[in-house]
């Protein structure tokens, strides 16, 4: 039995209503314990005086693994050569920044105090790869969101009028087969339509083959996850990513939910108007207003930062449209297995560019205009907007208005003219940061034992030095404990542990088995039973942590 006592720190635990309370935190056998429960058994005491104690941070949307990450590494070989991680007692020879290797990903996250990160775009055909790769990422608990909404089996079910029940059964079957924990939709129906040579698909435009609209796909899947009782709502990458004027699509999408829960991801890329002489303007105010008014909607921002990165998306329709702006000039697209697609386009965001500067401002406007910190999440859509290593800088932008104004002033005048950023007085408090990076992500993912420091929670605890320079504060944690073990001390990694993989497995009518056996045999050309992942394939036989759903298996 081991027990750790963290003394003297200010505890920031908004999920349990604690805001800067100075108290001891106990961790026993890898879990948070009530102070009375540990008694004399403390084996290690950590002095956190002058520090801030929080639960491990959680990234709800970061592209950390899978085929498209490997394609990005392949394309960004210069970055891989430039940024190497030397082999050491704890590290293999990985590298990269926007294309970080598995080991480096775990290291860079945990140094900042993150102990869980979720891969938001698992294409079913690539799920096995995704899980093997996530298994090589140290320190982090992980899980994947399965991409549906462009898969031919589903579109065929909807188009043929098979009914909601059949869709629900299929969604549950796919979740079990791919060991994922939520459903993501990327450009509903659009990726599929591109395979039939459509170049754009609006919310109410019919897919050229199936003759169903993105709206129909979206509402059907929203109902499916609601009826299956998944904790996480549909995680939506909407139609028309990056297209000026897409603010209207985003507003229409919010209206289409009719009050059912929906998470909209990297909304910065979906908040563009067409005002001004360049026909590109900020839609942040309108979008934020709609989010504020609709408590069923949550968003993550997908903030961009200036510099070289690589954009990796399942949305080949959009990426093909964007191929001309690739820097350096190379890009890869793939149509994938009657399932989805991917497009990887390297890109450099430039502060001198009117469009990029405004994108930067739009992201921050969203952060500052959305009022409820429980419904907005800190993301750069790593690596699409920027590498996740820019989070500390982003946190300072949110918490420090003078610093933000200073950065804003560096932008081209043309872009500043189109942004209200310097009129926004809000500064995020530490409590709000603890919400957007810990408490709220855990809540929206249904991870009841994460994101807080109540008794029974996972023993993932972070101590930060309370530094007025918030960027410095959040760059390197003083201490990080993973499942009660100290893995970071003074910002340096001192031990390596591995997290677990989270999944859900709602029940389904077993007649779906026979239907999918037939589908795989005929359409896919291999067997459904080969497609299905088994527990022994996850983390050397550990299997996943299966979370309860309303319709549990």
């Amino acid at each position: 039995m081991s027990a750790v006592r963290i003394t003297g720190g200010k505890v920031l635990d908004p999920a349990n209503g604690e805001v800067g309370v100075e108290r001891d935190v106990f961790i026993q056998d890898g879990r948070i314990a009530a102070s009375g429960a540990v008694g004399e058994g403390v084996t290690e005491t950590i002095d956190a005086k002058g520090g801030v104690v929080m639960a491990g941070a959680i990234d709800i949307h970061t592209h950390i693994a899978g085929g498209k990450s490997n394609i990005a590494r392949l394309l960004m070989v210069e970055e891989q050569r430039a940024i190497r991680e030397p082999a050491g007692p704890f590290c293999a020879c990985g590298g990269g920044l926007s294309t970080m290797t598995a080991h480096a990903t775990g290291c860079r996250y945990v140094e900042m105090g993150y102990t869980a990160a979720f891969e938001p775009a698992v294409v079913g055909a690539n799920a096995r790869h995704m899980h093997y790769e996530m298994g090589d990422i140290p320190f982090l608990d992980t899980g994947g969101y399965l991409v549906l909404g462009n898969d031919d089996f589903l579109l065929d079910l909807i188009a043929s009028g098979a009914g909601q029940q059949a869709v629900n059964d299929y969604v549950a079957w796919m979740l079990a087969a791919t060991k994922c924990m939520a459903i993501k939709i990327v450009n509903p129906g659009g990726i599929n339509a591109f395979k039939f040579n459509a170049r754009r698909l609006d919310l109410d435009e019919a897919n050229p083959h199936y003759e169903i609209t993105p709206r129909k796909i979206l509402t059907t899947l929203i109902r499916a996850v609601t009826e299956l009782g998944l904790a996480h709502p549909i995680h939506l990458h909407g139609c028309n990513l990056g297209v000026p004027g897409n603010e209207q699509t985003t507003l229409d999408t919010i209206a289409a939910t009719e009050g059912l829960p929906l998470h909209m991801t990297h909304v910065q890329f979906h908040s563009y108007g067409t005002e001004g002489d360049r026909k590109f303007s900020s839609g942040a105010a309108k979008i934020a207003e709609a989010v504020n008014k609709n408590p069923n909607i949550s968003i993550d921002v997908g903030q961009i930062m200036f510099g070289q990165t690589v954009t990796a998306s399942a949305d080949l329709m959009s990426q093909h449209r964007n191929r001309g702006i690739a820097t350096p000039k190379r890009w890869i697209g793939m149509d994938i297995e009657m399932d989805a697609a991917c497009g990887i386009v390297p890109f450099e965001y430039k502060d001198k560019s009117f469009v990029n500067a405004l994108q930067w401002a739009i992201g921050l406007e969203l952060f500052l205009l959305v009022e409820d910190p429980w419904r907005i999440f800190l993301t750069t859509d790593h690596p699409n907007g920027a590498p996740f290593t820019t989070y500390p800088h982003l946190l300072r932008l949110l918490m420090d208005k003078p610093f933000r104004d200073e950065q804003f002033a560096k932008l081209p005048k043309s872009a500043r003219k189109h942004s209200i950023l310097n009129e926004l007085k809000r500064e995020y408090t530490l409590e709000e940061i603890a919400i957007v990076t810990r408490a709220a992500p855990a809540k929206i993912l249904g991870l009841t034992d994460r994101g807080h420091l109540g008794a029974g929670a996972a023993g993932d605890v972070v101590i930060y030095r309370d530094d007025p320079d918030r960027e410095a504060m959040f760059s390197k944690a003083e201490y990080v404990l993973k499942d009660g073990r100290v893995v970071v001390k003074d910002g340096e990694i001192v031990d390596v542990v591995y997290g677990r993989t989270h999944s859900v497995a709602p029940d389904y009518d077993k007649s779906m088995d026979a239907k999918l056996d037939r589908w795989f045999d005929q359409a896919i050309g291999f067997k459904a039973k080969t497609f299905k992942m088994r527990d022994h394939e996850i983390r050397d036989g550990q299997g996943t942590v299966v979370h309860a759903t309303k319709r549990s298996a």
Binding site: T101, R128, H320, G333, D335, M338, A523, F526, T530
Partner: protein, 414 residues
């Protein structure tokens, strides 16, 4: 599904790991150590799955039979003393590759897969310029016109056309068409393509690249590139196709293979402006693709990466096995899927290899290993790089996996 009879156990729906197509409808009958593949297996797979009832050979050090432990101790001594180790073969599952990465990053040395020539011809385009590629099931259902460039890939990917171009596909209206440009289908390929329209366009030896340039010219309305054969009809066919696919096996292309690949990818780019098209680059025997994938996510570089002083660096010329052996003093040869012979080499040889491997000369250390997908479970990748296939465990012949052996060796190094 498993049938038990007095003659042994027959397993159905076994996943085949060999060529990279990942057929999963193979049946295997196992009697003690003996294995015979039945239905589903192509000729190559049947030969590679076949095992006699003989017990597995034991490990050897300088030709002397020893226990595994002793063999690993001897290997550890050789590796520790080596100035410049070369990791070759790499015919192993993802776990084996992971273990070899850890070993190589500790000992230093270059790492390459024995069948990577074609992969690097493909990478010279995909990495430098990119392409639009596709996967097997997309071809199967969308592709109304498949253009096979160069030699018929089904010589290496035996059941290719059964898998990707059956006569009907979900979205194919009318008859599917396959055009062989500069190659001809084997009789077996013709049999698989029954019900599909076949056309062959002969290209004089060594002129495939010119032919593709001419095709590109026809598609981009550039001034005509003179010479034969006439490709105007093919160009029109591709423009009119709903989903044209250009397929090739880069390993079978000649010395200008990288340029042929590049040209094909440009043609696909041009076609995608007005219609849909994609490349199907075929390469991937013995989990070549899985080895490359595991390298990318763990190290950040493709294969042909060398570790020196705790740093990894990639160089597709210098770190090929062939080049590396010129300055290497120890070859660590790993080949679990087939008895692939290691290349001729003057230096020392440690082989973690298929029990039936025939060596030109006795290795200093030989450890017979099990085959992923027969002797132990494992993961391999299909040629299209997206789908990975779970390999099963069907017999217990007492053969360790490469992952176990590599880990055992690493633990013996100080």
């Amino acid at each position: 599904m498993t049938d038990v009879s007095s003659g042994g156990v027959t397993h159905h729906d076994v996943v085949c790991p060999f060529c990279g197509l990942g057929c999963d409808d193979v049946s295997l009958t196992v009697r003690g150590n003996a294995v015979e593949a039945g239905e589903g297996a192509c000729g190559r797979a049947a030969a590679l799955f076949r095992r006699s009832a003989d017990p597995a050979p034991s490990a050897r050090v300088m030709g002397r039979e020893v226990a595994l432990d002793e063999a690993l101790a001897a290997a550890a001594e050789l590796v520790s003393a080596a100035r410049s180790p070369v990791y070759g073969g790499l015919g192993t599952d993802v776990d084996g590759v992971r273990a070899l990465i850890k070993l190589a990053s500790k000992t230093g040395g270059s790492v390459d897969h024995y069948a990577s020539t074609g992969l690097f011809r493909n990478l010279s385009t995909s990495q430098r310029k990119g392409w639009i590629a596709t996967t097997l099931a997309e071809v199967r259902n969308h592709c109304d016109l498949l253009v096979v460039i160069g030699p018929d890939p089904s010589e290496a990917f035996h059941r290719l056309y059964n898998r990707i171009t059956p006569p009907t596909g979900r979205f194919i209206k009318g008859k599917r068409k396959v055009v062989f440009l500069g190659g001809a289908p084997s009789d077996e390929a013709r049999a698989q393509l029954e019900g599909v329209e076949i056309q062959t366009i002969a290209v004089p030896e060594g002129e495939l690249l010119d032919a593709l340039s001419r095709l590109q010219g026809l598609l981009s309305d550039a001034p005509a590139v003179p010479g034969g054969p006439d490709l105007a009809a093919l160009a029109e066919g591709l423009k009119g196709a709903h989903y044209g696919v250009l397929a090739w096996s880069a390993g079978m292309l000649g010395g200008d293979g990288d340029l042929i690949v590049e040209r094909a990818s440009i043609i696909v780019d041009i076609l995608n402006v007005d219609t849909r098209a994609a490349c199907l680059p075929l390469a991937g025997r013995d989990n070549l693709i899985g080895a490359n994938q595991a390298f990318l996510w763990n190290i950040g570089f493709p294969l042909r990466t060398a570790f020196r002083g705790g740093q990894a660096d990639h160089d597709q010329l210098l770190n090929s096995t062939e080049e590396a052996l010129k300055s290497g003093d120890l070859l660590i040869w790993t080949s679990a899927f087939r008895p692939e012979q290691p290349p001729a080499f003057e230096g020392q040889l440690v082989a973690f290899a298929h029990p039936d491997t025939i060596f030109e000369r006795e290795p200093e250390v030989f450890v017979p290993v099990g085959q992923p997908g027969l002797d132990h479970r494992g993961l391999a990748f299909r040629t299209d790089t997206v789908v990975s296939i779970p390999l099963g465990h069907y017999r217990d012949a007492g053969l360790p996996s490469i992952a176990m052996v590599a880990k055992g060796l690493r633990e013996r190094l100080s």
